[in-house]
């Protein structure tokens, strides 16, 4: 009789660091302090566009407590960023409101701030370019001299023959969508501590999501050897993509530390966080889509203009992800996609959970509903009919190796009682109306090969008491990777979760990883940890077999004990095996390592190729209640079905999905960074409205397990997915309730009321 062994995989485990966070033991950037540490503050331009005519720091320099004042003239000021168009400090031109003009290091933050206010800068204001239209108009001033047309980047993608698709269409819908600025709202504001030792080696405490690329990039900006930079990540209070880039405050802090020969800390105020951290790309998307008389999709065409703001960050490459949705969400034989990323004097966008996919899915899923209307099909049926299945390859070359798309469509709609509610909510006329709507998404779920390697390294160390330390390249930014990786390690090795510790904060000890992005950590770092654990397990089994003189195959390891495979009879404990290895004649350590590189490829110059080892699918159904008079839209329920491959930590999945829905709802209904005249008008939580607990609806979560062959225990990525299709689901529900289609976000109560008023007249 085979023994049934309980598995950790799929159970609900609270985050390993939860207690620390709750009792205040977790040290965030805010808590960090070093002996003799100074505080840095940055003077920002506070105008969107100008020439810098002169900077006088003399009055600031003589102030009490001030140790250094620097401007562009005082530092190497190497250009950096994805487009190499940014510099730590600006010496000649101001291109956006947050531009860094000078920086002060002083004994206290208050002194540094006071000194900043004493720096006199003479500006010659230039008329700001505030829209992408103005930036592209002929004769417009070039914001960066080397981009005379103000176009930072362009993307073109196609497959099939769109004209042919048009001709085959019985129905065509077309619309233009407008997405505005939102920002990450990490609870922990941006900050950094830089400290040099006597030999000129730098230790930097950073919130970066990509410590190894960060080290390389920072070295180039500040002119150090990357080997002389040690990156330590303290507890990070949220990132959501905002910490994928290096931003000027980081090299500025390094230079202040260099000049003063003392540790320096820069910590943003909340207002600064709103003004000087990145946003999601505002986008204007014109899209048309067709289907034949039976509802089979025929073609899709999209033209996008993205507002880059003053500089190019990694976030400017979001069309790369957007095009995946346009090309491959549902089966579409003919697709064309063109995107232009345009410089303006607005705040600059960065990467943000979903990486362009929120904008793309909003567009595609809104139009899918419109098409269903035209054909006279239930939107669920139209989606099911066009949904891909396992084994298909999309026009862009994405290989659907595992696919829970159908299960997501069916699971979410069953939970939501779709058919019944749709019937119930048909033809409402009152001032309070209900509706139901749905939307799906497709996102990379097995990493994304955008660097030469999409890999992650792990080192696993077992000590003589049986304590297991996983040293991983993967970073913890609050997403719970530490817990998932510990679970995977414990499961593979055959030890209790309690004995596993994860080291994930110090570049000096950790092996390389590309970073936290593309929902990749559980998949990539999980596979890496699993490989290292497997190697250690093999070593232990071999040693145990030798000790008890039995064949290896007859033994197994469970809960830290070596057992007889067939009967479960105790043989010896794992620590005993380890000690026997350590302390024998030919002593040996149980330390293993692994590097996992997913079987994906970098896309070719036509953006084709299987960029991820697997893909994640989801469908969310929203049920809403709309007050036609006040314009307030209340979300009553979200039924969310996510193809996660395999659940590793159930609690972690639930947290990811609930948090993602809160973000998605904010994007839809309330969040907007009001940028007017290049300035942020609502740099505070009072007026930038994120969802709060009472806003949250009932959430019914269906975790679809498609068991991906490549994923660790079958798992795939879930990090970004939950935020991606909430907006179109809600907007489709509002349409079903009111007959009004919103093509712009957010639908604040005021915007809703204006639209619904038209109905009353």
């Amino acid at each position: 009789m085979s023994r049934v062994r309980s598995s950790l995989i799929g159970s609900s485990v609270p985050k390993l660091d939860a207690a620390k966070r709750v009792i205040g033991d977790a040290r965030y950037m805010d808590d960090l302090t070093l002996p003799r540490m100074l505080h840095g503050k940055i003077l920002r331009a506070d105008r969107p566009s100008a020439r810098i005519l002169g900077i006088d720091t003399s009055r600031a320099e003589v102030m009490e407590g001030v140790r250094a004042v620097i401007t562009a003239a005082d530092i190497p000021n190497h250009s950096f960023g994805h487009g190499r168009d940014n510099t730590p400090l600006k010496g000649e031109v101001v291109r956006c409101i947050r531009d860094e003009i000078a920086a002060v290091a002083a004994d206290t933050p208050e002194q540094a701030e006071a000194a900043c206010r004493r720096i006199e800068v003479k500006y010659g204001d230039l008329p700001p370019i505030l829209t992408t239209d103005a930036a592209r108009a002929s004769g417009a001033r070039a914001i960066h001299g080397d981009h005379p047309e103000n176009v930072a980047l362009t993307y073109h993608y196609d497959h099939g023959e769109v004209e042919q698709g048009r001709r085959a269409s019985a129905h065509v819908v077309e619309s233009t969508f407008h997405l505005r600025y939102v920002t990450h709202c990490c609870l922990g504001v941006s900050g950094v501590v830089a400290s040099f030792d006597g030999e000129g080696k730098l230790t930097i405490w950073s919130q970066t999501q990509v410590p190894f690329l960060y080290r390389r990039d920072l070295a180039a900006i500040v002119g150090l050897d990357p080997r002389d930079i040690r990156v330590i990540q303290p507890f990070i209070g949220g990132a959501f993509g905002s910490k994928l880039d290096i931003y000027p405050f980081e090299p500025i802090c390094v230079h202040l530390a260099q000049v003063t020969r003392r540790p320096v800390k820069i910590l943003f105020s909340r207002e600064e966080e709103f003004v000087a951290s990145p946003t999601r790309q505002p986008a204007e998307i014109r899209c048309s889509m067709g289907c034949d008389a039976d509802g089979n999709l025929t073609f899709r065409e999209a033209d996008l203009v993205l507002d880059n703001g003053g500089y190019t960050s990694w976030g400017a490459t979001t069309p790369f992800v957007m095009m995946q949705t346009f090309s491959s969400l549902y089966r579409v034989p003919h697709v064309r996609f063109d995107a232009e990323v345009v410089y303006t004097n607005n705040p600059y966008a960065g990467s943000f959970r979903g990486y362009g996919n929120l904008q793309a899915s909003f567009t595609v899923e809104s139009l899918i509903d419109e098409l269903a209307d035209r054909v006279g099909m239930d939107p669920l049926e139209l989606r099911l009919q066009n949904a891909q299945e396992q084994g298909e390859v999309t026009g862009q070359g994405m290989v659907i190796s595992s696919c829970g798309f159908r299960e997501c469509l069916e699971g979410s709609t069953t939970a939501a009682r779709w058919k019944e509610k749709r019937e119930e909510y048909r033809q409402q006329t009152g001032r309070v109306r209900r509706g139901i709507g749905m939307a799906s998404m497709l996102h990379v779920g097995g990493g994304a090969k955008i660097y030469r390697s999409d890999g992650c390294g792990s080192i696993l160390k077992l000590d003589d008491f049986g304590a297991v330390t996983l040293i991983t390249g993967a970073s913890e930014i609050g997403q719970g990777s530490e817990t998932a990786l510990a679970m995977i390690t414990a499961e593979e090795l055959g030890v209790k979760l309690e004995v596993v510790r994860v080291v994930n904060d110090d570049s000096e000890i950790r092996p390389w990883d590309v970073g936290v992005h593309a929902s990749r950590t559980t998949f990539i770092a999980g596979n890496s940890a699993r490989l290292a654990a497997r190697a250690a397990r093999e070593k232990l089994l071999k040693a145990a077999a030798r000790l008890v003189e039995r064949p290896e195959q007859e033994l197994t390891i469970e809960d830290g004990e070596v057992l007889e495979q067939a009967t479960g009879k105790h043989v010896m404990s794992v620590p005993k095996v380890i000690r026997s290895l350590h302390f024998q004649d030919k002593s040996e350590l149980v330390v293993t390592n692994a590097y996992y590189e997913p079987p994906s490829v970098a896309q070719d110059e036509k953006f084709k190729g299987n960029v991820s080892a697997t893909y994640a699918w989801a469908t969310q159904v929203a049920e809403v209640e709309v007050d036609m008079d006040t314009g307030i839209i209340r979300v009553l329920k979200i039924s969310a079905a996510h193809d996660v491959g395999r659940v590793i930590n159930r609690l972690g999945c639930e947290g990811q999905v609930e948090g993602g829905i809160a973000m998605g709802m904010g994007y839809t209904l309330s969040e907007e960074l009001l940028v007017q005249e290049g300035r942020v008008r609502n740099p505070c939580f009072r007026d930038y409205k994120i969802m709060t607990a009472p806003d949250m609806p009932e959430i019914e979560l269906i975790l679809v397990e498609s068991l991906d062959e490549e994923g660790p225990f079958g798992a795939k990525g879930l990090g970004e997915a939950p935020a991606i299709c909430t907006a179109p689901a809600i907007v489709n529900a509002v349409k079903s309730a009111t007959g009004r289609r919103f093509t712009g976000l957010p639908i604040t109560p005021e915007r809703g009321a204006r639209e619904f008023m038209k109905d009353a007249q």
Partner: protein
Amino acid sequence: MVRIECYSAPTSLREALQLLAKYGDRARVLAGGTDLVLRLEGVDRDLEGALVNIKQVPGLVGVRAVDDVYRIGALTTVTELREDPVVAEHMPVLADICDHFASGQIRNAATIGGNLVNASPAADLAVPLLLLDARVRLASLEGDQPRERELSLGDFFRGPGVTALEAGELLTAVVVPRPPPGFRARMRKAGTRPAMDISIVSVGVGFCVDGGLIRDARVALGATAPTPLRCPAAEKTLEGRPPDAATARAAAQSAVEAARPIDDVRASAWYRRHLVRVHLEREVLHVGRG
């Protein structure tokens, strides 16, 4: 950040008033601090005088019935108002709004005195208190002795952040006369979120119904003008008419005409007027239904 000369937590009213008298307009009273602390990082960043924490001053907390009025101490918190049995029974409109005020943490700190002295046009406690004809008691030193004066809330508010409170004065209590028998009132706070939101507008209405007709009509509006205020025009429209749809519509029209809202980041003047109309109409009918 502030560099103040003096921080003090006096333990008697007299001591508090002495400090306020000494520092005059260079003193700031600290109650719950939920508005003040933000000011100290903003408009009051350069404050150099005194911070007078009044939380130790006895006699400023709680709700009591005295003769024919209810006396609410200035330091009574929003949480206390929300849970107080006297408020629940005699001033339910005040208790109700406390449920939509900020969050639990803020409500535990925020005081009624602070809400009124801060004098935001959107102050949530102002609207129900205006409906209840509340008055404020202001104490100061006369020679060596405390004395108090009383003002109607309508006279107390002068503009955004500006009140009739003079340097050296402390708000000690809010006094609410017993409402007429059968008086019912409701208030509606309109914002993006169900809680933790600054009112875009707030609308309050209260009246008695006598023989099918409205009597003692009171209408108050928040965030529609430089101060929260009563709306006599709408009250006149309501008075003596049945609480039906036509009356509600007419009262809403008068209120919209009286409102002088602004455009700001939270809403346009158009939307504020629109909400005054929608909510007043709804609330008149609600109060009428009992």
